[in-house]
Protein backbone atom coordinates (compact mmCIF):
# COMPACT_ATOMS: atom_id res chain seq x y z
CA UNK A 1 0.00 0.00 0.00
CA UNK A 2 1.14 3.51 -0.78
CA UNK A 3 -0.10 6.77 0.61
CA UNK A 4 -1.04 9.45 -1.88
CA UNK A 5 -0.02 12.62 -0.10
CA UNK A 6 -0.81 16.27 -0.34
CA UNK A 7 2.05 17.15 -2.70
CA UNK A 8 4.56 19.94 -2.36
CA UNK A 9 4.20 21.71 -5.67
CA UNK A 10 6.93 24.27 -5.22
CA UNK A 11 9.29 25.71 -2.65
CA UNK A 12 6.61 28.14 -1.54
CA UNK A 13 3.86 25.59 -0.89
CA UNK A 14 3.14 24.56 2.69
CA UNK A 15 -0.51 23.54 2.42
CA UNK A 16 -3.20 22.66 -0.07
CA UNK A 17 -6.90 21.92 -0.35
CA UNK A 18 -8.44 19.02 -2.20
CA UNK A 19 -10.79 20.31 -4.91
CA UNK A 20 -11.75 17.16 -6.78
CA UNK A 21 -11.05 13.45 -7.11
CA UNK A 22 -10.85 12.21 -10.70
CA UNK A 23 -10.82 8.56 -9.64
CA UNK A 24 -12.98 6.56 -7.29
CA UNK A 25 -12.06 3.60 -5.11
CA UNK A 26 -11.46 0.45 -7.11
CA UNK A 27 -10.38 2.25 -10.27
CA UNK A 28 -7.01 1.57 -11.82
CA UNK A 29 -4.38 4.32 -11.91
CA UNK A 30 -1.60 4.54 -14.47
CA UNK A 31 1.71 6.05 -13.47
CA UNK A 32 1.64 9.75 -14.32
CA UNK A 33 -2.15 9.86 -14.58
CA UNK A 34 -3.95 12.85 -13.11
CA UNK A 35 -6.08 11.59 -10.23
CA UNK A 36 -6.92 14.70 -8.22
CA UNK A 37 -7.13 18.48 -8.37
CA UNK A 38 -5.52 20.38 -5.52
CA UNK A 39 -5.83 24.07 -4.78
CA UNK A 40 -2.62 25.79 -3.75
CA UNK A 41 -2.10 29.38 -2.74
CA UNK A 42 -1.23 30.05 -6.37
CA UNK A 43 -3.45 27.90 -8.56
CA UNK A 44 -5.53 24.80 -8.95
CA UNK A 45 -3.21 21.98 -10.02
CA UNK A 46 -3.94 18.60 -11.61
CA UNK A 47 -2.01 16.14 -9.45
CA UNK A 48 -0.52 13.04 -11.04
CA UNK A 49 0.21 9.73 -9.36
CA UNK A 50 3.82 8.59 -9.40
CA UNK A 51 2.83 4.98 -8.90
CA UNK A 52 0.63 2.63 -10.89
CA UNK A 53 -2.02 0.63 -9.07
CA UNK A 54 -5.57 0.80 -7.83
CA UNK A 55 -7.16 3.52 -5.76
CA UNK A 56 -7.84 1.62 -2.55
CA UNK A 57 -9.36 4.21 -0.27
CA UNK A 58 -10.06 7.92 -0.21
CA UNK A 59 -9.06 9.53 3.07
CA UNK A 60 -9.97 13.14 2.37
CA UNK A 61 -13.09 14.34 0.63
CA UNK A 62 -13.11 17.46 -1.58
CA UNK A 63 -14.08 20.87 -0.29
CA UNK A 64 -12.64 20.48 3.17
CA UNK A 65 -9.98 22.33 5.09
CA UNK A 66 -6.52 23.39 4.03
CA UNK A 67 -4.15 20.54 4.83
CA UNK A 68 -0.38 20.56 5.39
CA UNK A 69 1.89 19.25 2.66
CA UNK A 70 2.45 15.54 3.27
CA UNK A 71 -1.03 14.81 4.60
CA UNK A 72 -2.25 11.41 3.29
CA UNK A 73 -5.16 11.99 0.92
CA UNK A 74 -5.75 8.45 -0.29
CA UNK A 75 -4.32 4.95 -0.27
CA UNK A 76 -3.14 3.32 -3.48
CA UNK A 77 -2.60 -0.42 -3.83
CA UNK A 78 0.52 -0.38 -5.95
CA UNK A 79 0.82 -2.91 -8.74
CA UNK A 80 3.18 -5.79 -8.10
CA UNK A 81 6.65 -4.72 -9.12
CA UNK A 82 5.58 -1.12 -9.54
CA UNK A 83 7.82 1.37 -7.85
CA UNK A 84 7.22 5.00 -7.25
CA UNK A 85 8.87 7.08 -9.90
CA UNK A 86 11.45 9.69 -9.22
CA UNK A 87 9.85 11.99 -6.69
CA UNK A 88 9.63 15.67 -7.47
CA UNK A 89 12.80 17.58 -6.71
CA UNK A 90 11.02 19.59 -4.07
CA UNK A 91 10.29 16.41 -2.16
CA UNK A 92 13.99 15.88 -1.64
CA UNK A 93 14.72 19.45 -0.70
CA UNK A 94 15.45 20.21 2.95
CA UNK A 95 12.35 22.31 3.33
CA UNK A 96 10.13 19.79 1.59
CA UNK A 97 7.89 17.37 3.34
CA UNK A 98 7.37 14.27 1.26
CA UNK A 99 7.03 12.98 -2.27
CA UNK A 100 3.61 12.70 -3.80
CA UNK A 101 3.38 9.03 -3.00
CA UNK A 102 5.26 7.08 -0.36
CA UNK A 103 5.08 3.54 0.96
CA UNK A 104 2.42 3.44 3.64
CA UNK A 105 4.03 4.14 6.99
CA UNK A 106 3.59 6.46 9.96
CA UNK A 107 3.61 10.09 8.91
CA UNK A 108 7.04 11.72 8.93
CA UNK A 109 7.49 13.81 12.08
CA UNK A 110 8.34 16.98 10.21
CA UNK A 111 5.37 16.93 7.89
CA UNK A 112 2.65 18.65 9.76
CA UNK A 113 3.35 21.79 11.75
CA UNK A 114 -0.23 21.73 12.96
CA UNK A 115 -2.68 18.95 13.46
CA UNK A 116 -1.58 15.36 12.85
CA UNK A 117 -2.40 13.97 9.41
CA UNK A 118 -5.88 12.49 9.30
CA UNK A 119 -6.18 8.71 9.09
CA UNK A 120 -9.88 8.66 8.37
CA UNK A 121 -12.08 10.40 5.83
CA UNK A 122 -12.72 14.03 6.64
CA UNK A 123 -16.22 15.45 6.49
CA UNK A 124 -16.99 16.90 3.11
CA UNK A 125 -18.90 20.05 2.37
CA UNK A 126 -20.49 18.42 -0.64
CA UNK A 127 -20.94 14.79 -1.60
CA UNK A 128 -18.14 13.45 -3.75
CA UNK A 129 -19.42 11.58 -6.73
CA UNK A 130 -16.01 10.61 -8.07
CA UNK A 131 -16.11 8.65 -11.30
CA UNK A 132 -15.39 9.74 -14.84
CA UNK A 133 -14.04 13.18 -15.40
CA UNK A 134 -16.68 15.44 -16.88
CA UNK A 135 -15.73 18.27 -19.23
CA UNK A 136 -15.34 21.58 -17.47
CA UNK A 137 -14.77 24.98 -19.01
CA UNK A 138 -11.56 26.65 -17.81
CA UNK A 139 -13.39 29.57 -16.27
CA UNK A 140 -15.77 27.20 -14.50
CA UNK A 141 -12.84 25.22 -13.09
CA UNK A 142 -11.19 28.42 -11.92
CA UNK A 143 -14.41 29.68 -10.33
CA UNK A 144 -14.93 26.33 -8.62
CA UNK A 145 -11.51 26.70 -7.04
CA UNK A 146 -12.33 30.20 -5.88
CA UNK A 147 -15.66 29.13 -4.40
CA UNK A 148 -14.44 25.82 -3.01
CA UNK A 149 -16.99 23.90 -5.08
CA UNK A 150 -16.39 20.18 -5.60
CA UNK A 151 -16.81 19.69 -9.35
CA UNK A 152 -17.74 16.06 -8.80
CA UNK A 153 -20.95 17.26 -7.19
CA UNK A 154 -21.92 19.65 -9.97
CA UNK A 155 -24.39 18.71 -12.72
CA UNK A 156 -23.22 20.10 -16.04
CA UNK A 157 -25.85 21.71 -18.27
CA UNK A 158 -23.56 22.60 -21.17
CA UNK A 159 -23.07 20.64 -24.40
CA UNK A 160 -22.22 17.01 -23.62
CA UNK A 161 -22.75 17.61 -19.92
CA UNK A 162 -20.02 20.23 -19.80
CA UNK A 163 -19.91 22.12 -16.51
CA UNK A 164 -20.33 25.83 -17.13
CA UNK A 165 -19.63 28.88 -15.01
CA UNK A 166 -23.35 29.16 -14.26
CA UNK A 167 -23.43 25.54 -13.05
CA UNK A 168 -20.60 26.19 -10.61
CA UNK A 169 -22.13 29.37 -9.26
CA UNK A 170 -25.50 27.70 -8.88
CA UNK A 171 -23.87 24.83 -6.99
CA UNK A 172 -22.15 27.32 -4.71
CA UNK A 173 -25.46 29.00 -3.95
CA UNK A 174 -27.28 25.76 -3.30
CA UNK A 175 -24.73 23.96 -1.16
CA UNK A 176 -24.76 23.87 2.64
CA UNK A 177 -23.03 26.82 4.27
CA UNK A 178 -20.29 24.62 5.69
CA UNK A 179 -17.80 25.38 2.95
CA UNK A 180 -17.30 29.12 2.80
CA UNK A 181 -16.25 30.75 -0.43
CA UNK A 182 -12.78 32.17 -0.69
CA UNK A 183 -13.03 35.80 -1.78
CA UNK A 184 -10.80 36.79 -4.66
CA UNK A 185 -8.98 39.20 -2.39
CA UNK A 186 -8.06 36.29 -0.11
CA UNK A 187 -6.70 34.33 -3.06
CA UNK A 188 -4.60 37.26 -4.18
CA UNK A 189 -3.24 37.66 -0.66
CA UNK A 190 -2.42 33.95 -0.45
CA UNK A 191 -0.58 34.23 -3.75
CA UNK A 192 1.43 37.17 -2.42
CA UNK A 193 2.15 35.30 0.81
CA UNK A 194 3.43 32.29 -1.13
CA UNK A 195 5.65 34.41 -3.34
CA UNK A 196 6.89 36.35 -0.32
CA UNK A 197 7.89 33.14 1.45
CA UNK A 198 9.78 31.74 -1.55
CA UNK A 199 11.54 34.96 -2.44
CA UNK A 200 12.48 35.73 1.16
CA UNK A 201 13.89 32.23 1.46
CA UNK A 202 15.83 32.72 -1.76
CA UNK A 203 17.37 36.01 -0.68
CA UNK A 204 18.04 34.63 2.82
CA UNK A 205 19.71 31.40 1.71
CA UNK A 206 21.09 31.94 -1.80
CA UNK A 207 24.12 34.18 -2.37
CA UNK A 208 23.18 35.50 -5.82
CA UNK A 209 25.58 36.78 -8.42
CA UNK A 210 24.30 38.63 -11.46
CA UNK A 211 25.65 38.81 -15.01
CA UNK A 212 24.33 40.43 -18.18
CA UNK A 213 25.22 40.56 -21.85
CA UNK A 214 23.76 42.22 -24.94
CA UNK A 215 23.04 39.88 -27.86
CA UNK A 216 22.67 40.80 -31.52
CA UNK A 217 19.29 39.39 -32.61
CA UNK A 218 19.41 40.40 -36.27
CA UNK A 219 20.10 36.89 -37.59
CA UNK A 220 17.56 35.29 -35.30
CA UNK A 221 14.80 37.74 -36.21
CA UNK A 222 15.55 37.60 -39.94
CA UNK A 223 15.41 33.81 -39.84
CA UNK A 224 12.18 33.97 -37.84
CA UNK A 225 10.51 36.36 -40.31
CA UNK A 226 11.42 34.10 -43.21
CA UNK A 227 10.24 30.99 -41.41
CA UNK A 228 6.96 32.52 -40.25
CA UNK A 229 6.12 33.80 -43.72
CA UNK A 230 5.95 30.17 -44.86
CA UNK A 231 4.08 28.83 -41.86
CA UNK A 232 0.33 28.71 -41.27
CA UNK A 233 -0.78 30.76 -38.33
CA UNK A 234 -1.18 27.67 -36.15
CA UNK A 235 2.53 26.89 -36.49
CA UNK A 236 3.94 30.40 -36.34
CA UNK A 237 6.83 30.96 -33.94
CA UNK A 238 7.42 33.70 -31.41
CA UNK A 239 10.85 35.20 -30.82
CA UNK A 240 10.50 34.00 -27.24
CA UNK A 241 10.61 30.40 -28.47
CA UNK A 242 14.11 30.97 -29.88
CA UNK A 243 15.21 32.50 -26.58
CA UNK A 244 13.85 29.60 -24.53
CA UNK A 245 15.47 27.02 -26.83
CA UNK A 246 18.84 28.80 -26.74
CA UNK A 247 18.65 29.13 -22.96
CA UNK A 248 17.86 25.43 -22.61
CA UNK A 249 20.56 24.26 -25.03
CA UNK A 250 23.19 26.41 -23.31
CA UNK A 251 22.48 24.54 -20.07
CA UNK A 252 23.92 21.44 -21.74
CA UNK A 253 27.21 23.28 -22.04
CA UNK A 254 27.19 24.52 -18.43
CA UNK A 255 25.25 21.81 -16.60
CA UNK A 256 26.26 23.10 -13.17
CA UNK A 257 23.57 25.75 -13.57
CA UNK A 258 20.83 23.16 -14.18
CA UNK A 259 19.52 21.49 -11.04
CA UNK A 260 19.02 22.04 -7.35
CA UNK A 261 20.78 22.92 -4.11
CA UNK A 262 19.88 20.03 -1.84
CA UNK A 263 21.40 18.88 1.43
CA UNK A 264 24.14 21.44 1.31
CA UNK A 265 25.39 20.74 -2.18
CA UNK A 266 24.54 21.28 -5.81
CA UNK A 267 22.86 18.39 -7.58
CA UNK A 268 22.85 18.77 -11.33
CA UNK A 269 19.86 17.41 -13.20
CA UNK A 270 20.32 15.07 -16.14
CA UNK A 271 17.21 16.55 -17.76
CA UNK A 272 16.61 20.16 -18.69
CA UNK A 273 13.11 21.18 -17.66
CA UNK A 274 12.72 24.90 -18.32
CA UNK A 275 10.55 26.70 -15.79
CA UNK A 276 8.72 29.50 -17.57
CA UNK A 277 7.81 32.49 -15.41
CA UNK A 278 4.22 33.36 -16.31
CA UNK A 279 2.47 36.39 -14.88
CA UNK A 280 -1.17 35.86 -14.00
CA UNK A 281 -3.83 38.39 -14.80
CA UNK A 282 -4.93 39.87 -11.53
CA UNK A 283 -1.49 39.52 -10.00
CA UNK A 284 1.11 36.95 -9.05
CA UNK A 285 3.04 34.45 -11.12
CA UNK A 286 3.79 30.78 -11.55
CA UNK A 287 6.78 29.09 -13.20
CA UNK A 288 5.74 25.67 -14.52
CA UNK A 289 8.07 23.46 -16.54
CA UNK A 290 8.41 22.66 -20.20
CA UNK A 291 9.92 19.20 -19.92
CA UNK A 292 13.08 18.41 -21.91
CA UNK A 293 13.03 21.86 -23.50
CA UNK A 294 16.50 21.30 -24.99
CA UNK A 295 15.30 18.28 -26.98
CA UNK A 296 12.15 19.77 -28.49
CA UNK A 297 11.95 21.12 -32.01
CA UNK A 298 11.06 24.79 -32.24
CA UNK A 299 7.60 23.85 -33.47
CA UNK A 300 7.03 21.52 -30.53
CA UNK A 301 8.48 24.03 -28.09
CA UNK A 302 6.18 26.73 -29.44
CA UNK A 303 3.16 24.48 -29.03
CA UNK A 304 4.15 23.59 -25.48
CA UNK A 305 4.78 27.21 -24.58
CA UNK A 306 1.46 28.54 -25.86
CA UNK A 307 -0.38 25.65 -24.24
CA UNK A 308 1.43 26.11 -20.93
CA UNK A 309 0.71 29.83 -20.77
CA UNK A 310 -2.95 29.30 -21.61
CA UNK A 311 -3.34 26.57 -18.98
CA UNK A 312 -1.43 28.52 -16.34
CA UNK A 313 -3.79 31.45 -16.75
CA UNK A 314 -6.83 29.18 -16.84
CA UNK A 315 -5.73 27.42 -13.64
CA UNK A 316 -5.12 24.02 -15.19
CA UNK A 317 -1.51 23.01 -14.55
CA UNK A 318 -0.22 19.54 -13.74
CA UNK A 319 1.70 18.70 -10.60
CA UNK A 320 4.77 17.55 -12.54
CA UNK A 321 4.88 20.90 -14.29
CA UNK A 322 5.00 22.63 -10.92
CA UNK A 323 7.61 20.39 -9.32
CA UNK A 324 10.01 19.58 -12.16
CA UNK A 325 11.65 22.86 -13.32
CA UNK A 326 15.42 22.57 -13.14
CA UNK A 327 15.90 26.27 -13.81
CA UNK A 328 13.70 29.27 -14.60
CA UNK A 329 13.49 31.59 -17.60
CA UNK A 330 11.77 34.95 -17.28
CA UNK A 331 11.10 37.82 -19.65
CA UNK A 332 9.64 41.23 -18.97
CA UNK A 333 10.40 42.55 -22.41
CA UNK A 334 6.77 42.68 -23.44
CA UNK A 335 6.22 45.59 -21.10
CA UNK A 336 9.29 47.48 -22.19
CA UNK A 337 11.82 46.31 -19.62
CA UNK A 338 15.26 45.99 -21.21
CA UNK A 339 16.96 43.90 -18.52
CA UNK A 340 15.66 41.71 -15.71
CA UNK A 341 17.87 40.43 -12.90
CA UNK A 342 15.64 37.87 -11.24
CA UNK A 343 15.49 36.12 -7.90
CA UNK A 344 16.32 32.42 -8.05
CA UNK A 345 13.40 30.12 -7.22
CA UNK A 346 14.74 27.78 -4.54
CA UNK A 347 16.08 25.15 -4.58
CA UNK A 348 17.03 25.86 -8.22
CA UNK A 349 20.53 27.06 -9.05
CA UNK A 350 19.95 29.77 -11.62
CA UNK A 351 17.48 32.04 -13.34
CA UNK A 352 17.84 33.39 -16.87
CA UNK A 353 16.28 36.69 -17.86
CA UNK A 354 15.52 38.32 -21.20
CA UNK A 355 14.51 41.92 -21.78
CA UNK A 356 12.82 43.67 -24.65
CA UNK A 357 14.30 43.32 -28.12
CA UNK A 358 15.23 46.89 -29.05
CA UNK A 359 17.11 48.57 -31.87
CA UNK A 360 20.46 49.97 -30.81
CA UNK A 361 23.63 51.32 -32.45
CA UNK A 362 25.97 48.37 -32.97
CA UNK A 363 29.57 48.41 -34.17
CA UNK A 364 30.30 45.99 -37.04
CA UNK A 365 33.76 45.98 -38.63
CA UNK A 366 34.43 49.52 -37.55
CA UNK A 367 31.06 50.82 -38.73
CA UNK A 368 28.10 51.75 -36.58
CA UNK A 369 24.87 50.13 -37.72
CA UNK A 370 21.44 49.69 -36.17
CA UNK A 371 20.72 46.19 -34.91
CA UNK A 372 17.95 44.58 -32.87
CA UNK A 373 19.48 43.46 -29.58
CA UNK A 374 18.32 41.78 -26.40
CA UNK A 375 19.86 41.86 -22.95
CA UNK A 376 20.24 38.37 -21.49
CA UNK A 377 20.97 38.07 -17.79
CA UNK A 378 21.86 35.30 -15.41
CA UNK A 379 21.21 35.13 -11.69
CA UNK A 380 23.41 32.36 -10.32
CA UNK A 381 23.75 30.64 -6.95
CA UNK A 382 27.33 31.42 -5.88
CA UNK A 383 27.41 28.32 -3.69
CA UNK A 384 27.12 26.18 -6.81
CA UNK A 385 28.93 28.16 -9.50
CA UNK A 386 31.17 31.15 -9.96
CA UNK A 387 30.83 34.07 -12.30
CA UNK A 388 33.19 32.48 -14.80
CA UNK A 389 30.84 29.56 -15.43
CA UNK A 390 27.94 31.96 -15.61
CA UNK A 391 29.79 34.01 -18.21
CA UNK A 392 30.39 30.88 -20.27
CA UNK A 393 26.69 30.18 -20.10
CA UNK A 394 25.64 33.60 -21.40
CA UNK A 395 28.31 33.36 -24.09
CA UNK A 396 26.75 30.07 -25.20
CA UNK A 397 23.27 31.62 -25.32
CA UNK A 398 24.58 34.47 -27.50
CA UNK A 399 26.43 32.07 -29.82
CA UNK A 400 23.41 29.78 -30.24
CA UNK A 401 21.21 32.71 -31.23
CA UNK A 402 23.59 33.52 -34.11
CA UNK A 403 22.66 30.20 -35.73
CA UNK A 404 18.87 30.10 -35.37
CA UNK A 405 18.49 27.47 -38.08
CA UNK A 406 20.29 25.00 -35.78
CA UNK A 407 18.09 25.61 -32.75
Amino acid sequence: MTDFLMPKLGADMTRGRLVEWLKKPGERIARGEVIAVVETDKANVDVESWVAGTLEKILVEPGGDWLPVGTPLAVIAAEAGAEAGAPPAFAAAPAAAAPVTVPRQPPPPDVAPGAPPPRAPLPAAAPAAGGERVPVSPIARKRAGELGVDLASVRGTGPGGRITLEDVERAARERPAAAPAAPAADKRQRMRDAIAAAMARSKREIPHYYLGTTIDMSRALAWLATANAKLPVTERLLAGVLLVKAAALALREVPELNGFWIDGRAQASASIHAGIAISLRGGGLVAPAIHDADKLTLAALSQRLTDLVARARAGSLKSSEMTDPTGTITSLGERGVEAVYGVIYPPQLALVGFGKIVERPWAVDGTVVVRPVVTATLSGDHRATDGHRGALYLDAVARLLQEPEKL
Binding site: A225, V233, R281, T306, V309, A310
Partner: protein, 82 residues
Protein backbone atom coordinates in the same frame (compact mmCIF):
# COMPACT_ATOMS: atom_id res chain seq x y z
CA UNK B 1 -21.68 37.25 -41.89
CA UNK B 2 -22.44 40.79 -40.76
CA UNK B 3 -20.31 42.85 -38.42
CA UNK B 4 -22.40 42.09 -35.34
CA UNK B 5 -22.03 38.37 -35.93
CA UNK B 6 -18.31 38.82 -36.43
CA UNK B 7 -18.07 40.87 -33.23
CA UNK B 8 -19.93 38.21 -31.23
CA UNK B 9 -17.74 35.40 -32.57
CA UNK B 10 -14.58 37.44 -32.07
CA UNK B 11 -15.53 38.11 -28.46
CA UNK B 12 -15.92 34.37 -28.03
CA UNK B 13 -12.35 33.87 -29.25
CA UNK B 14 -11.08 36.56 -26.89
CA UNK B 15 -12.99 35.02 -23.98
CA UNK B 16 -11.46 31.62 -24.68
CA UNK B 17 -7.98 33.11 -24.17
CA UNK B 18 -8.95 35.62 -21.47
CA UNK B 19 -11.68 33.98 -19.39
CA UNK B 20 -11.86 37.07 -17.17
CA UNK B 21 -13.11 39.12 -20.13
CA UNK B 22 -16.24 41.15 -19.49
CA UNK B 23 -17.47 42.06 -23.00
CA UNK B 24 -19.62 44.91 -21.72
CA UNK B 25 -16.57 46.59 -20.19
CA UNK B 26 -14.41 46.33 -23.31
CA UNK B 27 -13.92 49.70 -25.01
CA UNK B 28 -14.12 48.90 -28.74
CA UNK B 29 -11.73 51.67 -29.77
CA UNK B 30 -8.98 51.08 -27.21
CA UNK B 31 -6.01 48.73 -27.23
CA UNK B 32 -7.01 45.11 -26.63
CA UNK B 33 -3.55 44.39 -25.27
CA UNK B 34 -3.81 47.06 -22.61
CA UNK B 35 -7.40 46.28 -21.66
CA UNK B 36 -6.98 42.52 -21.51
CA UNK B 37 -3.41 42.49 -20.15
CA UNK B 38 -2.32 40.05 -22.82
CA UNK B 39 1.19 39.16 -23.90
CA UNK B 40 2.58 37.79 -27.17
CA UNK B 41 1.62 34.21 -26.30
CA UNK B 42 -1.97 35.21 -25.56
CA UNK B 43 -2.00 37.27 -28.75
CA UNK B 44 -0.79 34.32 -30.80
CA UNK B 45 -3.51 32.15 -29.25
CA UNK B 46 -6.06 34.83 -30.19
CA UNK B 47 -4.78 35.00 -33.77
CA UNK B 48 -4.95 31.22 -34.04
CA UNK B 49 -8.48 31.26 -32.62
CA UNK B 50 -9.61 33.94 -35.07
CA UNK B 51 -8.02 32.13 -38.01
CA UNK B 52 -9.81 28.90 -37.12
CA UNK B 53 -13.14 30.54 -36.30
CA UNK B 54 -13.33 32.68 -39.43
CA UNK B 55 -11.44 30.38 -41.79
CA UNK B 56 -8.87 32.99 -42.77
CA UNK B 57 -5.11 33.23 -42.74
CA UNK B 58 -3.81 36.24 -40.83
CA UNK B 59 -0.25 37.05 -41.90
CA UNK B 60 2.07 38.70 -39.39
CA UNK B 61 2.05 41.87 -41.45
CA UNK B 62 -1.69 42.21 -40.69
CA UNK B 63 -1.36 41.97 -36.92
CA UNK B 64 -1.58 45.78 -36.73
CA UNK B 65 -5.24 45.49 -37.76
CA UNK B 66 -6.00 43.56 -34.59
CA UNK B 67 -5.15 46.44 -32.26
CA UNK B 68 -8.70 47.21 -31.09
CA UNK B 69 -11.99 45.34 -31.19
CA UNK B 70 -13.36 47.74 -33.82
CA UNK B 71 -10.32 47.41 -36.09
CA UNK B 72 -10.31 43.66 -35.60
CA UNK B 73 -13.97 43.38 -36.64
CA UNK B 74 -13.41 45.63 -39.67
CA UNK B 75 -10.40 43.57 -40.73
CA UNK B 76 -12.25 40.27 -40.40
CA UNK B 77 -15.30 41.66 -42.19
CA UNK B 78 -13.09 42.21 -45.18
CA UNK B 79 -11.62 38.73 -45.10
CA UNK B 80 -14.05 36.31 -43.50
CA UNK B 81 -15.65 33.69 -45.68
CA UNK B 82 -19.40 33.38 -45.74
Amino acid sequence: MNKEEIRTKALGVLAAVVPELEPAELAPDKSLRDQLDIDSVDFLNIVVGLAKTFGVDIPETDYRHLYTLDSLVAYLAGRAKG
